[in-house]
């Protein structure tokens, strides 16, 4: 009984809940920054080149995908949360690590997408050949969030 209560303390699920919350909070923070920063670039560029709107939405879409990574991990973690009797402290630590890894990776990726999207969209309006380079840089920024997702899912399986 005492070992069970040592393995399953009352505060065990706290770590899991914090993991699920931090997964979606930090991912959404990064996605919001990316959307807002590249949105100002799109607004400035569309005044002169409104026909490029379809190409220039891409940074906003990629910033939105960062939030979906966080959502997936948060839903996975929330599905395993349980009463303290069925939820070990180890599981709580694992879930906190998974949530933090996808959350902070998403935050970093969102910052990168925002800054690159702003400058890239403004540049594409003046030199359309820049579009391919902008897409490549955006994909490399997006992959940072994907790495966090992979690590989070790998942690989740432990």
């Amino acid at each position: 009984m005492s070992s069970a209560s040592n393995d399953n303390p009352i505060y065990g699920p706290f770590f899991g809940v914090m993991g699920a919350a931090s997964a979606i909070i930090f991912s959404a923070l990064g996605a919001a920054y990316g959307t807002a920063k590249s949105g100002t670039g799109i607004a400035a560029m569309s005044v002169m080149r409104p026909e490029l709107i379809m190409k220039s939405i891409i940074p906003v879409v990629m910033a939105g995908i960062i939030a979906i990574y966080g959502l997936v991990v948060a839903v996975l973690i929330a599905g395993q949360l349980d009463l303290p009797a069925n939820y070990t402290l180890y599981k709580g630590f694992i879930h906190l690590g998974a949530g933090l890894s996808v959350g902070f990776s998403g935050l970093a990726a969102g910052f990168a997408i925002g800054i690159v999207g702003d400058a890239g969209v403004r540049g594409t309006a003046q030199q359309p050949r820049l579009f391919v380079g902008m897409i490549l840089i955006l994909i490399f920024a997006e992959v940072l969030g994907l790495y966090g997702l992979i690590v989070a899912i790998y942690l989740y399986t432990k």
Binding site: M54, K55, I58, V61, I65, V72, L76, G79
Partner: protein, 107 residues
């Protein structure tokens, strides 16, 4: 004088009509672009969510021996894969379809 005024009004009508038709063409172009962007954005937002829950239900039903953890991970990976396929299709459309619309505009 009346002739001049007539000509002027006719010319003005022509100008306003061409302006109106141009405006309508712009509006229809904007509307079609908006439809395409809205379709792809809703696809990218809703496709992974639908895929996640559909895959979860389907896998649970079909392969009942799989553990709950494996079902969750399989559906999460499937949702992310579907998301990236939708993003790839959007980028392809923006890269090749966007130049097409600008060509039409030049015509």
């Amino acid at each position: 004088m009346s002739n001049k005024s007539k000509k002027l009004t006719v010319g003005g009508n022509d100008g306003s009509q061409s302006k109106l038709s141009k405006q309508r063409a712009h509006d229809s172009q904007d509307y079609s672009a908006f439809k395409v962007v809205l379709f792809y954005c809703s696809l990218i937002v809703f496709l992974p969510v639908v895929t996640f829950f559909a895959l979860k239900g389907f896998l649970l039903e079909r392969f009942f021996t799989m553990s709950d953890m494996k079902v969750n991970i399989g559906s999460a990976v499937g949702a992310v894969a579907a998301l990236h396929i939708a993003l790839g299709v959007y980028i392809y459309r923006a890269y090749f379809g966007g130049s097409k619309t600008s060509q039409f505009k030049e015509d």
